[in-house]
């Protein structure tokens, strides 16, 4: 079987099927035809099956080392290990686009299958939108970035996978990120459908909430793993460089986070309809913008794919998406306008609005900083940079305000909060925060004002959030010494969305704890001969000896280092400087001793024939808390997920006492 030809054909048929999905579904909505609607749904499922088959063919070609395909020859070699042969599927532009399409198909298929009955009116238009998105991506895969392109002459071996991508993190990180990006296609398509139908009540987002929360959760995990990958593999001692591609992944996360908060206001109070639709439209458009930026060759970054015309084709697609989505929003503007208004600036609604203001300001800043160099170059031809100092200077203060709001917001009640009750609830958090600052400054001698403030604020927010759990659990406490725990389990399981959200907030606090550790990082760099040592932040690090060996795929050269603390050996690290044979690229593997208090991070930059090494070393306090915090955030979203959907809705409805009767609005004049 000629895999190249078969694959190409499968992709072309999938493209036709996606086009039919889009057209038939649009016609079904137009002509109110059930038959066409069923046909379009079947076409969507067929598209999914075809795309899965195409991806399976490419994976087969990769495993059978079919170097007659340019993609296989470009991203794998005979010595590529089995796991990374699979990850080669998304290592290059062509494969990654096919993979992106595959995941979009999975999201679209599950959403349409689940919602075509419950949201009959919206599902038709949403299917058409999803079909159009799939048709665009399949068009790219078929005509612009064909992973089944043959190569002639057929090389005896492939050039192998970039060694930087050969990491377990890189095996999962793109998958999670793509799951996150593409997942927003579901709420996006239903938002468009709601605009088209003029049905802008809460239905479109409560029905798609599962997909939104899940996509957000994947995106969170994907960004965190990307940071972990940068930390473990790139060897520059940090985890976030405000690199354009990192920024591109952060943008939809920021607007998506804003959306998850502001929909609560619409759900509870019927306000912010325009804003919510706008946010989710922006979120998916930003996800596409990110894909465009990484594939256009406009930006230089370690993450970007090679320059190609494919990226340029995103621009018209993005333009059509933005213009039509926001055009629809403008068209429906009057209908969406809320006839309610804030009763006070001290209420939960206002807190969510401030949260949204801060998140969108951060999103704007990140977007602005990312595209500003492109704009300047386009208009004046000058090459300038916008680097980490810009982002840190603007984003960190806003982020701190946002963290403070995370603590205060949940304590304020809906409609009209009371200062007196807020003051009472803030007492313990404020004491906790101040005590933390005093202990750190007086007890541990911390002098950095920024770090003191950050850590104090983290403690404040943690105390405020934990206070919510305590207050909630008290109401459900049973007897006996297990009572409080039973109460906690009871209150969380009864109100999973709310307490899941608080668990996410606790994860954010842990991440902030980890981030404030960067204020205390210490570095060392220099050369060492075997037997020499240096000390850094209480560690004494001795270079014992060089060592080298070779495998089928690389020549490994390492420095054996003994790490002592207070005279005791705490670790033996072997930072490496390797030469990958297939690509002839050198690559560093770090030596890392990680603990909850600090990380010792060693990078071998050079090793010469006499055995003398050039090294850089970092002691990064508290970094491990960032990964823990991200895990807690994902855990929180799982709790939220378990409370969303038919089951969760019943939980929510099961406490009518919490909602005074006057707040249950009975729609008047609506049939």
């Amino acid at each position: 079987m000629d895999i190249g030809l078969t694959g190409r054909l499968v992709v072309l048929v999938a493209l036709l099927s996606a086009l039919w999905t889009c057209l038939a579904s649009a016609a079904a909505v137009w002509r109110r035809s059930t038959r066409l609607a069923i046909s379009s749904r079947r076409a969507l499922y067929a598209t999914g099956i075809l795309v899965v088959s195409a991806a399976a063919l490419l994976v087969m070609a990769l495993y059978s080392r079919d170097f007659s395909l340019a993609y296989v020859a470009g991203y794998s070699s005979r010595s590529t290990p089995p796991l990374y042969t699979l990850t080669a599927l998304w290592a290059g532009m062509e494969g990654s686009l096919l993979f992106w399409t595959l995941i979009t198909c999975l999201w679209a298929g599950t959403a349409v299958a689940r919602l075509s009955l419950r949201q009959r009116e919206l599902a038709g238009t949403a299917t058409a939108v999803l079909g159009a998105i799939l048709a665009f991506f399949l068009g790219l895969v078929a005509f612009a970035a064909n992973p089944f392109q043959p190569i002639s002459p057929i090389p005896p071996d492939g050039s192998g996978l970039n060694p930087l991508l050969q990491s377990p993190f890189m095996a999962i990180h793109p998958v999670l990120l793509y799951l996150g990006f593409t997942g927003f296609a579901v709420p996006f398509s239903f938002a468009v459908a709601a605009l088209v139908a003029g049905r802008l009540e809460v239905g479109w987002f409560t029905s798609t909430r599962r997909w939104t929360v899940l996509a957000w959760s994947f995106l969170t995990a994907g960004i965190a793993l990307g940071a972990a990958w940068a930390y473990m593999e790139l060897g520059w001692g940090g985890f976030w460089a405000w690199d354009p591609v990192e920024n591109a992944s952060l943008l939809p996360w920021l607007t998506g986070t804003a959306f998850l908060h502001s929909v609560l206001v619409q759900e509870r109070r019927g306000m912010l309809k325009i804003w919510n639709v706008g946010l989710i439209l922006a979120t998916y458009c930003l996800a596409i913008l990110g894909t465009f930026l990484t594939r256009s060759g406009l930006l230089s970054s370690v993450h970007t794919f090679s320059e190609s015309p494919t990226g340029k084709m995103f621009l018209p697609f993005l333009a059509v998406m933005v213009v039509s989505a926001f055009g629809l929003l403008g068209w429906r503007y009057e209908k969406l306008r809320s006839h309610r208004h804030l009763e006070s600036m001290l209420c939960r609604e206002a807190m969510f609005l401030f949260n949204n203001l801060l998140l969108t300001t951060i999103a704007f800043t990140v977007l602005w900083g990312t595209v500003y160099p492109i704009l300047v170059e386009a208009f004046s031809g000058a090459k300038i940079s916008v680097g980490p100092p810009f982002f840190n200077a603007v984003v960190v203060p806003i982020g701190i305000a946002l963290l403070g709001l995370t603590g205060i917001g949940p304590l304020v009640t809906w409609r009209r909060g009371s200062w007196r009750s807020l003051k009472r609830q803030l007492r313990i958090p404020l004491i906790t925060g101040s005590a933390t600052v005093i202990v750190l400054a007086a007890g541990l001698g911390v002098r950095s004002a920024g770090a003191l403030f950050g850590l104090g604020l983290s403690a404040f927010v943690a105390a405020a959030t934990i206070g919510e759990f305590v207050r909630g659990a008290r109401g459900h406490r049973g007897g006996g010494w297990l009572g409080p725990i039973k109460g906690l389990v009871e209150v969380v399981s009864r109100n999973r969305r709310r307490y899941g959200g608080y668990i996410v907030h606790l994860g954010v606090v842990l991440i902030c704890l980890g981030l404030s550790g960067t204020a205390f990082k210490q570095t060392w760099s220099g050369s060492l001969a075997p037997g020499q040592s240096f000390s850094l932040a209480g560690y004494s690090i001795r270079y014992d000896a060089p060592r080298a060996y070779s495998t089928e795929e690389k020549i490994v050269r390492m420095a054996v280092m003994t790490v002592r603390k207070d005279g005791e050996v705490v670790a033996r690290l072997t930072p490496q400087r390797n030469l990958h044979l297939a690509s002839n690229q050198p690559q560093s593997e770090i030596g890392l001793k990680s603990s909850l208090t600090d990380d010792l991070y060693l990078v071998l930059t050079q090793i010469d024939l006499s055995g003398t090494v050039t090294m850089r070393a970092w002691v990064n306090p508290l970094v491990a808390w960032i990964w823990l915090g991200a895990a807690v955030m994902v855990l929180g979203t799982l709790v939220i997920m378990s409370g969303v959907g038919p089951r969760g809705d019943r939980f929510k409805a099961a406490r009518p006492a919490a909602q005074p009767l006057e707040q249950v609005s009975v729609p008047t004049g609506v049939s």
């Binding site: 600036m345 203001l357 800043t365 300038i384 100092p389 050039t614 099961a654 009518p656």
Partner: protein
């Protein structure tokens, strides 16, 4: 129209701008080598600052900067030397005010919208009394509500 939302918005914009500007180096003081390396994009690794760049050439450039600092060069002198050798794109902190102004303006406008728009008096759609509900509709609503609450308590 009230004045205080405008004042608050302008205040927030000014605060962000001030924080951003105060984070910049004082042109006439002598910096630490780490501070300089932290605000120069490495010409040798895409997307990383000189402080972070692991390449050997970056280490040499760091050494050159350290020598300049030791000889007492000020922030301005060092920046000029870097720009002369590696171009404006080596400055990780953009030196044009446009770059810094935009986020401050956006935050200010956002706050203005937040303080002003949601409090705007509703447009005259819900005029007069809400439409009367007929007795049969009222009965239906009552029945549905009872059913709903019963279902919820199960």
């Amino acid at each position: 129209m009230k004045v205080w939302p405008i004042a608050a918005a302008a205040g927030l914009g000014a605060l962000i701008a001030a924080l951003a500007i105060s984070s910049g180096p004082d042109p006439n003081s002598v910096p630490t080598p780490e501070a300089v390396a932290g605000r120069i994009m490495s010409p040798f690794c895409p997307g990383l600052t000189l402080e972070e760049c692991p390449s050997q050439q970056a280490a040499e450039l760091r050494n050159q900067i350290e020598a300049k600092v030791r000889s007492g060069a000020t922030n301005r002198e060092i920046d000029e030397w870097v720009v002369a050798n590696y171009g404006e794109s080596a400055m990780a902190r953009p030196r044009e005010s446009m770059a810094w102004l935009a986020p401050a303006v956006a935050a200010g406008l956002g706050l203005l919208a937040l303080l002003y728009l949601p409090r705007r008096r509703p447009s005259p759609e819900p005029q007069g009394a809400p439409p009367e509900i007929s007795e049969s509709d009222r009965a239906r609503i009552r029945r549905d509500m009872t059913e709903f609450l019963r279902g919820a308590n199960e």
